[in-house]
Amino acid sequence: MNIIWKLIKLFLVLISIGVIAAYRNAPEEGFRWHEAPEMSTQEFDCLWYPFKANLSDGKVLAMDLPMEVVENHESTSWTPFVELTSYESKGEHSEGYIKMMHGVLKESQTLTFDQQFFGKLYLSQARNLQVNDTGIRRAGGMKFNVIQGETNQSKEAFMGAQNGKDVWCICIAWSKEAKDEDFVIDAFEKSLDSMKIQ
């Protein structure tokens, strides 16, 4: 009898240790007996606007943008392009900003994506940039040269890449006062990751 009681007690002790371990590892908001089907914060966060643009070789550049953009035909003066189209986000209360430029060259030539070049496309926005970093970032199978820096009000990144006669330049900027800087940067990162040429 004594042995049976000891075995029961040992069993209870093992169960109890399991309960205590489960309690210690439980989520902060409370103990749960069943696995809660919690949603990941990544499942729904950003609102996406599908973007498509035709390239000179008949292909299409597609990506998801975190902001709606307005298309405009730009002057090609002071640029090497025969066609230049901009896609710019408009929003008074937005903490993020994007302006993409699609230029088409008359003939294939190699461009240098430096501050001087971006200054021709984005004017004072790029010219007043205090450059902090430069590098390369791949997106949509293209190799973008990146210049990153800041102005008095915002942090900005200029990117430029060439795909034959098609040249893509992207300016993304976010306010230095942005309350949710990480969210804005993450949205732009995901947007670049979604870029593809079809």
């Binding site: 949603m39 609102l47 993020g96």
Partner: protein, 186 residues
């Protein structure tokens, strides 16, 4: 040996106490720590809804709509608000799902969105239209409950949760039923 037996007893007692505490957690209503949050401020009062997490303003441009969001663990809460007039406003009051609402689903990359039910109802003192949808995203099934109410601004509240999650459904229903207009003290 006595020491060992005493230790075993204490482990068992502790486990029993934790089991009782855990039982109480499950018995207590889920919203015991939820806060009623202001979702619209009007001249004579404010509209409030209870949510487990704080609503944050969406920091990017959204076609002139003010978007607020809350990641609430088992469900996601989105609220679009904008001053609308005429036909644009009527679009949110019909039995057909509003076009703008379908755009929001697209922007959240929800596919195969199907309207399951819609009804007019009054929650406390607030008249609303309540739409229920199902949809898919990246191989997962979701249910969406949408509440539209024409106040000074058109308010569109969207709750999204994993299809079949009873806990999420209960929480969403509890949040929806907490909607109320609180008059300002005169």
């Amino acid at each position: 040996m006595n020491f060992f037996s005493e230790l075993c007893n204490r482990v068992i007692y502790l486990a029993v106490i934790l089991l009782i505490a855990a039982g109480l957690f499950n018995i207590l209503p889920a919203s015991y720590s939820w806060n009623a949050q202001q979702i619209a401020n009007e001249w004579n009062g404010e509209l409030r809804v209870k949510l487990p997490e704080k609503i944050e303003i969406y920091p990017l441009n959204t076609k002139g709509w003010l978007v607020q969001q809350a990641q609430c663990g088992d469900f996601f809460f989105d609220m679009h608000s904008k001053e609308l007039k005429g036909m644009e406003k009527n679009d949110f009051l019909t039995e057909e799902p509003p076009k703008r609402l379908m755009e929001t689903f697209q922007q959240y990359q929800l596919e195969n969105v199907t309207l399951k039910d819609q009804k007019r109802e009054t929650i406390h003192n607030v008249g609303v239209r309540h739409y229920s949808f199902t949809g898919e995203k990246q191989g997962k099934d979701y249910e969406m409950e949408v509440i539209t109410t024409p106040r000074h601004d058109m308010l569109v509240m969207t709750y999204i949760y994993h299809a079949g999650s009873k806990k999420a459904k209960d929480e969403v229903e509890e949040s929806i039923s907490s909607l109320e207009f609180v008059e300002r003290d005169k």
